[in-house]
Amino acid sequence: MALLQTEGLTAHYGDFQALFGVDIELAEHETVAIIGANGAGKTTLMRSISGVLGNAPSAVRFDGVEIGTLPAEDIVSQGVAMVPEGRKLFPSLSVEENLLIGTYGRKTRGHWNLETIYELFPILSERRHNPGMALSGGQQQMVAIGRALMSNPRVLLCDEISLGLAPVVIKDIYDAVPKIKQAGASLIVVEQDIAQALAVADRVYCMMEGRITLTGTPDSLSRDAIYDAYFGASQ
């Protein structure tokens, strides 16, 4: 049985429909990448799963439980944490305070705590008392990932964690993914960089205009097939 599953998921912004019946699955210990062009609905899908956007109850299931109508704060407690697009650190908080927010009001058990986050990203330990926004883009992204991990989630949603970062920094960030998996989390990674997505994922979903247009393991997908699914009709 899938750990996390969406079924016929739709999403609207006012009159505009952004998702048209999206079905995806994530198995325990699996990493799934979602690729697609700008405006394909990737971030909307993440916002729907994480509870920022409301859904029909059965549209999202986690561990067999319908979580489609739960508000965001309850979905985190269930064990689905999000690294939001654009990092979204809290400017008034230091690096360490940003991390601590990830555990607010709860006692979580598991591998991740301040110490293990600093082991994962040693640079953050040096800068723990700096304001979050004083860090470089890559370091801020590390804080955003660490903040989400602090709740010891079973599913980590990563929305465009490579956006706007230099290739060498992206490599640093993605180097953490195997360690995150090893600690027991399953991941959904939203990426615009197809090569990066294929490298990290066990399975890939390609989205276009609010629909899943292609799915498969990285080996099974040809470049042409991805190209078609990404941009529509082949050229």
Binding site: V76, F90, L93
Partner: protein, 287 residues
Amino acid sequence: MIWVDTIIQGILLGGLYALFAAGLSLVFGIMRLVNLAHGDLIVMGAYLILLLVTLLGLPPFLAAVVAMPLMFCIGWCLQKFLLNRTLGDDILPPLLVTFGLSVALQNALLEGFSADSQRLPTDVLTTASIQAGPISLGVMPLLTFASAVLVIVGLNQLFYRTELGRAFRATSDDATTASLMGIKTANIFATATGIALVIVTVAALYLGLRANFDPNIGPARLIYAFEAVIIGGLGSLWGTLAGGIIIGVAQTLGAAINPEWQILSGHIAFLLVLLVRPRGLFPRAHD
């Protein structure tokens, strides 16, 4: 020497205005909610203390302590069940709702307590003074000022030293992302308004001990509070104290020149500060 005396009295008066303003500043800082009923809530607090004094025979200070948890609950419920529903991208609904609340509160107080002006019973303490050289300092103004400083120190400790304060700041920065991190923002807002009404109770105590009050004086208290918050810079608690002091000093200086100028000179000081520093004295770095 009389000028030094005037300025010191003004600074102490500023403590009262800072107390009026601290709750407003807290609520605005966390949820960008301008509570137009803030002044009327202060007056309501004063009547609640008066009620406890007359019904239970408590001394005013003890009555205020008893009133604090009640006011916290009122604030919590007010935010959770009414004001939270008005928050959103549009800034108009909270203004309209709190304006309506202000009118409703004034009329309810008028109905319940009549238009007669009231005062909390005073004892020796309230009229005592300390002689510091040539300057005579009233114990009550000193207590007011000390309470204002304590309230602001306390709020700063709460904000920067506690887990709740961390959640306050995170929610203030970005409520959507805060909820993604598991923070129940509706409850954070309710707690903030609850704490604001505890501060309102302190303000109400000194309001009732120092002067007469009646159901209609709320809006004028709101104006002083508002000016103190704006002068200080939105969301800055120490700025709010500075803003209160500036208005207090301007008022006593104005009154020393001509008693008719007392209120007006406070407002003029407010306008002058805005002219020079449109975002207030200590604006937040980001907003």
